[in-house]
Subunit: 299 residues, 2 copies
């Protein structure tokens, strides 16, 4: 009897054991993969469900903590906060019209500038700019923002070094070819002298959540859109004063800049705005803005 | 010979055929699930990779289309766009300081109002407000926004009906208990009379992408943060004129309002801003804003 015949004989003799073995393997394997797939599907549908409920907010903004003790269900600001009358100065139609024109003309002069004069900015101006940003609306008045204002030359250099290192990788490896192509007219490049030239850098961090005095997590609803709206009001304030800024979104620098600036892990860098006066030889690309009829629909 | 004995005899007799059948099933099943899982893992790792590269932007903002024909790799705006000098009016330190104070005081008076006077707004004011929003910066100057300005009473009612229906569901089913609790001090509720009272509703839509003249998809980098910054500048303009707004994020209304307003599928509703004058008996919750030292870190 050779080896093959012996094997066949054994298999035939013990065919029920072999059947059982195979069936057990099959069931175990099926269950394993089924669980994996179910996990995946349930995660996906949860994400989708959350995404459906949110416009602009992230799923995590809307999730409760597990520890939903009804005794802890007190609002983040007192529920009995009184309502007070609100009657701002009344302006006539003519005055409103006049101011809307004036403000448009002022804002229309705003441009992103990539070349700064190193002339310093008075500290009170920076304070007022950030105070103005702090007047922004936010989801359930959570004010989910921290503004880091860097004027120290060494810290500016350290920030520049990190951003330049990451940008080198972004341009060469991380960004799509279409993206690099789309950026060409703006003459952006990995070298960023403005990060040390500009007298101040404003780093806009978003707080994904915070903690209440009773130690419970404070949910920050719509933290992304709220922080970006605050950045819009900050840019308007910079323009109104007569200063300029560069609206930059430092790709892939969040963790390193957060560590450098010792920010907590519930904060995330959204924007980095060099602020100052334009260099006297500053240039900007000769761009046009879309016409009103391209961006507005009247109904 | 009973049925069971017959079955056993058949299985023993044909054990190699049964073995083969089981093994084929096993292999087919394995391959099927393996493919599913691989698909999932590759999607996840792609998303993670994209998420790592983005701060504030969404993964899809950074993806190339599949059809990356090098001949089509022309920038969305001409690569030879000339650079022009930029020298806005120079202001002295004193003037900058004065204006930064004045602007802060003006913006600090802004409040979200939930009770509007129906008095209409001059059309040119609305035009100027939207033109001002259109001066905002955006990723690679893609200007990814559409502002729908609704003054027609029937359309306002139709919008109100949709928002109220969805809000009823949001409050009762979709929002977390903590969220509903956190909103109590703001006296928000599913009934929204301001949607028909306010003389104008501005619906801020974000364009996730658009199309170039050559038919190729135009990527909108950082469309979320760009549109929210534009909304911030719009709110600043509304306040500067002497009007008021309500910053609302209509949860779960995107698809229905997009259909109602016949907007294309590349647009997504981010904000709904009733705009007008406050009702003469308007009240606001007696909230305080965070102090400067709570939101600003000086380095």
């Amino acid at each position: 009897m050779n080896v093959i015949s012996l094997a066949i004989w054994t298999l035939e003799k013990n065919c029920f054991i072999v059947y059982s073995g195979l069936i057990v393997c099959f069931i175990a394997f099926t269950l394993y993969h089924k669980n994996k797939l179910e996990e995946y599907y349930s995660e996906t549908s949860k994400k989708e469900k959350m995404a459906r409920t949110g416009t602009g907010g992230k799923a995590r903004d809307f999730q409760d903590d597990g520890d939903e003790d009804p005794d802890l269900l007190v609002p983040a600001i007192p529920e009995d906060t009184p309502q007070i009358p609100y009657s701002p100065p009344q302006r006539s139609d003519d005055e409103i019209l006049q101011r809307s024109r004036e403000y448009y003309e002022l804002m229309a002069e705003r441009r992103t500038v990539r070349s700064f004069s190193p002339e310093p900015i008075p500290q009170e101006v920076l304070d007022n700019l950030i105070k103005t940003a702090g007047t922004s609306p936010s989801g359930a008045h959570t004010e989910p923002w921290t503004f880091i204002v860097v004027q120290d030359p060494e810290m500016k250099s350290a920030i520049r070094e990190i951003v330049e290192e990451e940008e080198e990788l972004n341009y060469n490896q991380r960004m799509s070819r279409q993206w690099v192509t789309d950026l060409k007219p703006f003459a952006t490049k990995p070298v960023k002298p403005y990060l040390s030239d500009a007298p101040a850098l404003v780093l806009v961090f978003r707080q994904t959540h915070s903690w209440r005095e009773d130690g419970k997590k404070r949910m920050h609803y719509y933290s992304e859109i709220s922080t970006a709206i605050a950045a819009g009001i900050l840019l308007a304030a910079i323009q109104y004063c007569g200063l300029v800024a560069l609206t930059s979104t430092p790709l892939n620098c969040n963790a390193r800049l957060r560590d450098l600036l010792s920010r907590p892990v519930n904060e995330r860098l959204e924007l980095l705005l060099p602020v100052g006066r334009p260099h006297k030889e500053a240039t900007v690309p000769d761009l046009q803005r879309k016409k009103l009829e391209e961006i507005m629909v009247k109904i």
